[in-house]
Symmetry: C2
Subunit: 320 residues, 2 copies
């Protein structure tokens, strides 16, 4: 940084979220650091060194002459790297044990819901019907996770502990204990052994629309569960929603859990809402908790100012 640059203030700019809790936490944990607030109390731009953002408006960050680091406050950085004017400063992704645990809870809940036929038993309950269905052991069921980053690996570990046959598909095909790993060129084999597909991919140019009818038709339908299931907790734009509906219609899919959608909130006219085989949650799989994340960001700022390297940097070329 230039020797006369004394900027050390933080800008908080979140859209679509309530700002108050983030502001309160930043003030509580960094009382001696100036806090600028978008959009109403943005103050002198040259003082801003760090931007803590979620879906900031285009142009906001490029107007900060002394910006040093951008912190993305939620999982995923597609909201940032899609901006062609984004300043060429480091972008730090949120990797936080709290966020990871929440995503693992969501994934494990949805996998078990399909595996243990919870919706079928709920439907029976509404009819006062007492009927038992055959229940395969977890060890007979192939769960496949697309995206083996921090989130995918943690979910995979718990699913392994529960006994499922777990596989992972990732760009690098990197290995993991007790989990069969596949590279993108081995996708057909990955899908052919997968009855429950969990998508935790980042949204990039390569992954946009990856959940399409062609991919879904590759899943294993004749396995222990007698059908294939999809769980998407990554990003809505990973999925072609019309293709998911078509896959349900032709029984390529037996059930779907979606936490994310191409348009959020999901419009009332979407046929996904009332489809009997779709379970919808309003993008709550892993909600950022200001308490845990602000502490994480401030720690990284302290390290950065001591000349130490930043953790969890985004690779702009890969887009995540």
């Amino acid at each position: 940084m230039p020797p006369n640059d004394r900027s050390r203030a933080i800008l908080l700019a979140v859209s679509g979220w309530e700002r108050a809790a983030w502001e309160a936490k930043l003030r509580a944990l960094a009382p001696h650091r100036d806090l600028h607030l978008w959009p109403d109390r943005i103050g002198a731009r040259p003082q801003i060194a760090y931007a803590c953002v979620w879906k900031p408006p285009t142009g906001l960050l490029s107007a900060l002459p002394n910006l040093k680091v951008i912190f993305s406050l939620g999982a995923g950085v597609d909201h940032l790297v899609s901006d062609p004017d984004l300043p060429r400063v480091p972008i730090v992704r949120i990797v936080d044990p709290d966020l990871t645990s929440r995503m693992t809870e969501y994934v494990v809940l949805q996998v078990l819901m399909h595996h243990r036929r919870l919706r079928l038993y709920q439907d029976q309950q509404a009819e006062r019907v007492w009927r038992e269905y055959p229940q395969p052991a977890a060890g007979e069921v192939g769960v496949g996770i697309m995206g083996l980053g921090v989130l995918g690996r943690d979910a995979a570990q718990v699913l392994r502990r529960l006994g499922f046959r777990v596989a992972g598909l990732s760009r690098t095909g990197s290995s993991m204990a007790d989990v069969e790993t596949f590279r993108p060129d081995q996708r057909a084999a990955f899908l052919a052994r997968t009855e429950i597909l969990v998508c935790l991919l980042p949204l990039t140019a390569e992954t946009r629309g990856i959940i399409c009818l062609r991919l879904l038709r590759g899943l294993k339908r004749d396995g222990a569960l007698g059908g294939a299931y999809l769980i998407n907790a990554g990003r809505g734009d990973l999925q072609i929603e019309a293709d998911i509906l078509a896959a349900l219609q032709e029984e390529t899919l037996a059930g779907v859990s979606l936490d994310v959608f191409a348009t959020e909130p999901l419009p009332p006219e979407s046929p996904l809402w009332l489809h009997p085989k779709v379970t919808i949650t309003p993008h709550v799989a892993a909600v950022s908790d200001p308490g845990a994340l602000v502490a994480n960001v401030l720690q990284q700022i302290e390290r950065f100012e001591q000349g130490l390297p930043l953790n969890n940097l985004v690779n702009r070329r890969l887009g995540y």
Copy 2:
């Protein structure tokens, strides 16, 4: 055993279950051993050395002069020890990794369902409502398990891995890593820190009716979840069903998952069926899989005939 006793045949006597799969598995894995079948092909009683049973009729076992061991094919032995004429031979409980895994799946699914407010989001979905609720971290939520046997410990381990604050209540108060354990005389303290109560107790004279209004009123209602939840996957006679309904009515309980009932199948007139805060499954939490369990039983018979000790013996005085 008497020196002239050459009995080594197996009796299979299950009621309420389909017999065919058990019979097929026994024939496949023990082709050289005679198999007697209750009620239609019981054959010569003196030849029977081993009884593999689930809810056998009263009097059946006491009429077997050379019976050496009773194997209970499902979790729990209350169906046996309540018979005053039961022969004084060893009773072996089923402890099988397959059964344990299935129970852990059920418990983890139901805990996560309440923790992550799945039913609330399902109700919203039916109304096409997109609304997010505050979600406490697992580490803020106290899960309490009554019964820390093999099943309770396994579920506790996975719940710990998911981050929950887990406690256990057991007769001996035996300790467990990362789990706070309580003895029966510390029950009030156990309940006061528990927001999600999981019951995996055996049914004995002491535990019958333990889930009553008084116990439920001891649960923590003002914790991170803002309400208390009950999950019973032990035995139906552990619970007073009228008290559970009263606890829901007075908001002592915010939600209930029941897999077992005082009368099974649950009668159509039970108000539990259509209660909006009750999730009912037809006694499927941990269904005995003949494949895994028959192999386990035969292994124990082989060991017994070699003079080795039996595993997982029932303590008749304690009733489990």
